[in-house]
Each structure stands twice: as C-alpha cells, then as structure tokens.
C-alpha cells in the first residue's frame, strides 16, 4: 500500500526526496520529504522506482525511528512541517534508529501532552479553572488535581500555576493537572505571590532546560533565587530584592542574543559589583 502512495507523493512533490542523513544540520523547508536510511538503497537514480518484493527480509531490517517536532510521517518518509535545521540523535540503548527533529525558532506555543507549563488562572466555572497557557484555547484544570486539595487552599483568579498537560491535541481543549501519576505534587501547583513573570522564545527555554546548562549554573552563583521555566515560553523569577529580580530577568532575555564570551563578561562584571 505504501508504494503507490509514495510514488504519487513523489510525482506531486516534483523534486526528488533527499536522504535524511545527507541533510543533517542543514536548513530544511516545509514540504520537503526526507528518506530514512533503509529506504535509500531501494531508491534508484531517476524516475523509475523498482522495489524488490521482499516479504520477510524487509521486516527484519526495519528500524524504529522516532519522528520529533517539525516532522511528520508521510507514507514511508518524513515530511518537514517547520523550517529550521534538521537534527538527529543516536539512540542511547542501541535499539531503534534514533530521533530526528527540526530545530526552529518560535514564540507561539502549541500545547503538547506531557509539557510542564506556567499558566494564569482566568476564570472559575463549575468544577474547573480556566487557565491561559498562551495557546489558542485556555486549558482546563480541575479543582481536585492538586496535592492536598481542599476548599480552602484553592488558587484564585490571577494566580500563576505550574502544571503539566494530560490531554493536548488539535481536536480537543487542552487539560492540565498539578499532580503527577503517583498523586504527588512534585514541584507543581500554585506559584508564590511575588516575583516576576516574563516571556521568551521557546528555543531559549529548551536551551536553558537542557542538562548541564552553563547559563543556569552561572546565574545560580550570583545570588540566591527561585526560577520556574514553563515550556510555553514563560519564566518566573524571584530574588531577594526587586533590583536583583530585574537583573535576572534582563540577563535571561538577553542570553538569547549573546555569545558565551559576552555572557561570561557580563557575569564577571555583575559578580564584582
């Protein structure tokens, strides 16, 4: 079944699909089709595609490749849906073909299941809160999905909430909870009263949340602070004084445009003063 679909896709696309391996690290545009490694051998040069009918040999050599953000499965190939650079990560444990994804710059958030985000409570209606997460629709948060939820300790309208999505797809309104699968809060819930909330691009958040991020380590050495990162581009910061909070907010916003040398300069100047 895949064969007529892919032949049709190729004639529609007009240009030949490229092998994903050759395009790694380069800029790809939406609409491009990429071939996975095991399909390259079958692809002959030029129009006629003749795939040998192999019944069980194919099944053994198929490798499980994970299709990350910016890519979509289209028949046997990957279809690019966002413009950016193509990346690949080898699988750690050896099974499967690794992950492919597209690194792109974006400020507008689209809810994804499992993402931890910072939301603002906008309304109470019936049994649920309506929480604005920066997407196209407000997410719903049930009264009971907090650890130790009682009538007294509920968030008010206008409070900040750190939670994760349990339902997030394009057909339904997103739903979030402040409790993990064991029933523990695990850092989620209502965020404290003071502090500053500001917005950055999604790429910067991913960079800051990567393990061993230098920026966070350097910032932590400056002053004691509390930080919450939401995958929807929102950061909440709190330090002892307003001045320190403002400095932190400005540093994090500026980190996007600075090289690591400039950043080290700024941190050393701040550490002196």
């Amino acid at each position: 079944m895949a064969e007529p679909a892919s032949v049709a896709a190729e004639s529609l696309a007009g240009s030949r699909a490229r092998a994903a391996r050759t395009v790694l690290g380069q800029v790809v545009l939406p609409g491009e089709e990429l071939l996975l490694p095991e399909q390259e051998d079958a692809e002959g040069p030029g129009g006629a595609v003749e795939r040998p009918l192999s019944l069980n040999a194919r099944a053994c050599s198929r490798v499980r490749v994970v299709c990350g953000p910016g890519l979509r499965r289209c028949g046997d190939r990957l279809l690019v849906t966002k413009c950016g650079r193509l990346r690949h990560k080898e699988p750690g444990s050896g099974s499967g073909g690794g992950v492919y994804w597209v690194d792109s710059q974006q400020k507008r958030y689209v809810p994804v299941k499992g993402d931890h985000v910072i939301g603002i409570v906008t309304a109470k209606s019936g049994d649920i809160f309506k929480v604005d997460v920066g997407g196209s629709e407000p997410a719903s948060l049930s009264y009971l999905s907090f650890e130790g939820a009682t009538k007294r300790n509920r968030p008010n309208v206008g409070d900040l909430i750190y939670g994760q999505f349990v339902v997030a797809n394009k057909d339904m309104e997103p739903e979030m909870v402040c409790i993990d699968s064991c029933g523990r809060a695990n850092g989620m819930g209502v965020i404290g009263q003071d502090g500053l909330l500001f917005k950055v691009t999604l790429g910067l958040i991913r960079k800051l949340l990567a393990p061993d991020c230098e920026i966070i380590q350097e910032v932590g050495k400056l002053y004691p602070l509390e930080i919450v990162f939401g995958m929807n581009g929102r950061i909440w910061v709190k330090a002892k004084t307003i001045q320190q909070t403002l400095i932190l907010a400005n540093i994090l916003e500026a980190c996007e445009h600075m090289t690591s040398d400039q950043r080290k300069q700024i941190f050393s100047r701040l550490a002196e003063s």
């Binding site: 391996r21 050759t22 307003i242 001045q243 690591s260």
Partner: protein, 439 residues
C-alpha cells in the same frame, strides 16, 4: 485572540518596582525609549520605532473639490489603523474603543492645532483643492501608541512632497515629478504628543509607559506640544484626580522632551535630504541592511564615547596630584613596618552607580567596559556573516572533527562527497586490523 490576562504577581511586582523607582528595562522615570526614524523611497513614507513599538506613516494627496463652507482651504484627513500583527488582541471587530480614542486624539493634535497651512493647499478657489491624507498603521504594539503615531504623522508630513501646480488665468497646469520637482507642504510647527502614566492614584508618574506599565496604570495624561512650548492638546483619561502642580510639572517635562524629539526629527529629515541629493541609496532596504531574517539581533545600548579621551584628560588634569610617598618606613615591631598612611577607599561612589543595570545601562562609570562590549558584538557579527547560523550553545550540536589517519568514526555533519574521500583511507587501516586479528 483574547488578550493574555495580567497575573496578580506581575501587577504586584510592577507596582512595587515603580514605588522603588525602577522600571523593567532599566530606564529612569523621565526617560524615553530609543526613537528610530527611517524613510522609504517615496516621499511621505516613514517608519518610526519607539523602542519596540512601530508605526508606519504614509502621506498621499489628491485634487478634489473643496467643502462648501470652506471654499479656499484644502482638506486634511487622518487615519490610524491597528494592524492585526501589532498584538494578538487586535482583531478586525474588537478594537473599537482604543481605535476611536487614538483617532480622536490624533485629529485634535494635528488638525485643530493648525500645524499645516490649509490655505496654501488651494489651487482654484471653490473648484480644486488638495486633499492630504495621512495613513498611520501600527505594526507592533509595545506601549505608548499615541506618541509613536504623532511622531510618525508629523515626520511623514514634513517629508512629503506634492506635485507642483501653476495657475495662469483660467489654465491650471499640474506638473509631473519629472517635469518639475515636487513641492513640500507648508508646515507651521510640529506638535508632538507626550504621554504620562500615573500609578497609585497619582502618586507616581512615568513618561513613555511600556505595554506592561500601561496595563497597571491608573490614568494617562497626554500633552501635545511643539518646540515653541505651545500646548496644542491636553487630555487626561482614566478618571484620576490630578493636582494643578502635577499638570504644570508634566507640561514642563513635556517641553523638554518635545525639544529633544524635534531635534531628532529635524536631523533625520536632514540626513535623508542629504542622501537623496548626493544620489546615494535611500529607502527602507538601506536602513535594515545589516539585519538578516535568520538572526535575532538586539540593539546595542547607545553609550556616548565620543569625547571620552577629552573627559579623561580633564579629569586627570583637574585631579590633585597624588600625595608624596613617604619613603622612610616606620618600624613598629621587629617584622612589622609601615610605609606611608592608608588612604580612604574612594571606589564606593562608583560601585553604587554600577549596580543600576548591567548591559542596558549608559552609566559613565562603565564606559570603557561598554566600548569593549560593543566591539565584541561587532566582531562576532562580522565573523558570523560568512558562516551559517550558529546556535553556539545548542546542546544538540554534534560536531566530530576527524583527522584522516585517526579512528574511522562516522561523520554525520559532512556531505557524501567528503565521506567518499575518507572511505579509501579507512580501508587500508581496516585491513591491517583484520590481519592482526587473524594472526
């Protein structure tokens, strides 16, 4: 889309910061953001950027019949539009209140102040007059739309040239731009609006409010003035009670600000005039020459380093010569001696001013560091102009650089042709290994 709601913690933080006289971007209470004026290729087209707020102004003209009760005067028409790209909350049906308010203010500021001589727009009395139309589009909303819009309107009007017309008896000749140079409008004065935001029932005041600050403000006072300190329009909204001396103080501040902005406008107009006369390149494309679509570029904070050397020399010349060093040591006990006397630490003053803000600040004390910073930015920009986009801190970047004689690991970031080059050098190594294994 609905506007993102303002959370309680943001509101509280902003009000507390304002009480401590601190703003989010490190400005002082009476500071304006950076104003940037750029002109298009046509006369009468300009973009004004007030920080991140951006307004596009375009002036056009047409010959029409005049109004019946004003047969010898031209017609002025102003229109401000809030484009949907300015903010997610601006939707075609949803902007009416703000839009009406801004348009009314623009009209009062520009029409009622008679800044343009409408009599000079008359061609044939009662039959043909010029209709001047000013269209303003808000391209990005980051607070203080009215200031940016008024600057854009007046700059576009000053920049505009209308076709030349000559009347001989009954004959009216309209010349095309090729036949005769177009003629500028006759503008008496340049009214510019200055906005003041009030907080905590009039206790605190900020000039040029940001979008965040506009959300938490109690009231807004707009004063339109020209550089001759004549007030053209004054409007107070939000229903706060203002004292007389507060309003007077605001008008004094507005006078100072308007003088600065008028100077900036005149300089920008002069520069554009010069470039056009000399035949150089002009237009929007030239003003964004060094920015690329793929680069996020942040504006450098302007630090005036023009006369640093003279200032430094002055300081050195006026400073007292250092006290004479006493070269004879005073022996207190065997092993402990003292040469001269300790001097009081004078770095305390500079430290306080350094704490203001880090990279945005224009403090005198950190000028020299600022120079290094700026050159650092330029160098990195030059370096990256040839190289492709570099996300230098990306954790996902895997660059394995190989020497041809070393371990034959696979390179993923190189192209197939390079791989083929490497392949023949790999093979002999592999064969040798196999032989050893066999042995």
């Amino acid at each position: 889309m609905k506007e993102t709601p303002l959370s309680n913690c943001e509101r509280r933080f902003l009000l507390r910061a304002i009480e401590e006289k601190k703003r989010l971007d490190g400005r002082q209470t009476y500071d304006y953001r950076n104003i940037r004026i750029s002109f298009g290729t046509d006369y009468g087209c300009c973009i004004v950027e007030l920080g991140k707020t951006r307004v596009l102004g375009q002036v056009s003209c047409e010959l029409v019949s005049p109004k019946l009760n004003r047969a010898t005067e031209g017609i002025l028409f102003f229109n401000l539009e809030l484009s949907q790209m300015a903010a997610p909350a601006f939707e075609p049906g949803r902007q009416s209140d703000l839009l009406v308010k801004l348009n009314r203010l623009m009209e009062r500021c520009l029409r009622n102040s008679k800044c343009i001589d409408t009599e000079s727009l008359c061609v044939v009395a009662g039959e043909k007059v010029w209709q001047i139309r000013v269209d303003l589009h808000l391209l990005n909303h980051d607070g203080n739309i009215i200031d940016a819009a008024s600057i854009a309107a007046i700059v576009a009007l000053c920049h505009f040239r209308r076709p030349d017309v000559s009347v001989q008896g009954d004959e009216v000749t309209l010349y095309t731009p090729e036949e005769r140079d177009p003629v500028p409008l006759s503008i008496h004065h340049m009214p510019i609006c200055v906005s003041f935001a009030f907080f905590q029932q009039g206790a605190y005041l900020l000039v040029d409010p940001n979008e965040r600050e506009e959300r938490v403000m109690d009231g807004l006072l707009v004063i339109a003035m020209n550089k001759h300190r004549e007030i053209c329009t004054i409007q107070s909204s939000g229903g706060i009670m203002l004292l007389k001396d507060q309003v007077l103080r605001c008008s004094k501040i507005a006078g100072v600000k308007v003088a600065e902005i008028t100077e900036l406008i005149l300089k920008a107009l002069e520069n554009d005039q010069k470039v056009r006369k000399e035949g150089g390149k002009f237009g929007f494309a030239e003003s964004i020459a060094n920015q690329r679509i793929t680069a996020f570029k942040m504006e450098k904070a302007p630090i005036d380093t023009s006369d640093v050397e003279e200032k430094a020399e002055e300081i050195i010349a006026e400073a007292e010569p250092p006290s004479e060093v006493v070269s004879t040591p005073v022996l207190w006990t065997p092993g402990t001696a003292q040469i001269g006397e300790g001097v009081e630490n004078s770095w305390g003053d500079l430290e306080d001013s350094e704490k203001e803000d880090d990279e945005g600040g224009g403090d005198q004390a950190i000028i020299l560091d600022g120079i290094k910073m700026d050159t650092g930015v330029e160098v990195s920009d030059i370096g990256s102009q040839d190289a492709p986009i570099i996300l230098s801190d990306s954790e996902e970047e895997e660059m394995i650089i190989l020497e041809p004689d070393k371990n034959p690991k696979k390179i993923r970031t190189q192209t197939t042709s390079a791989k083929q080059e490497k392949a023949p050098s790999k093979k002999p190594v592999k064969r040798r290994k196999k032989k050893r294994a066999a042995n």
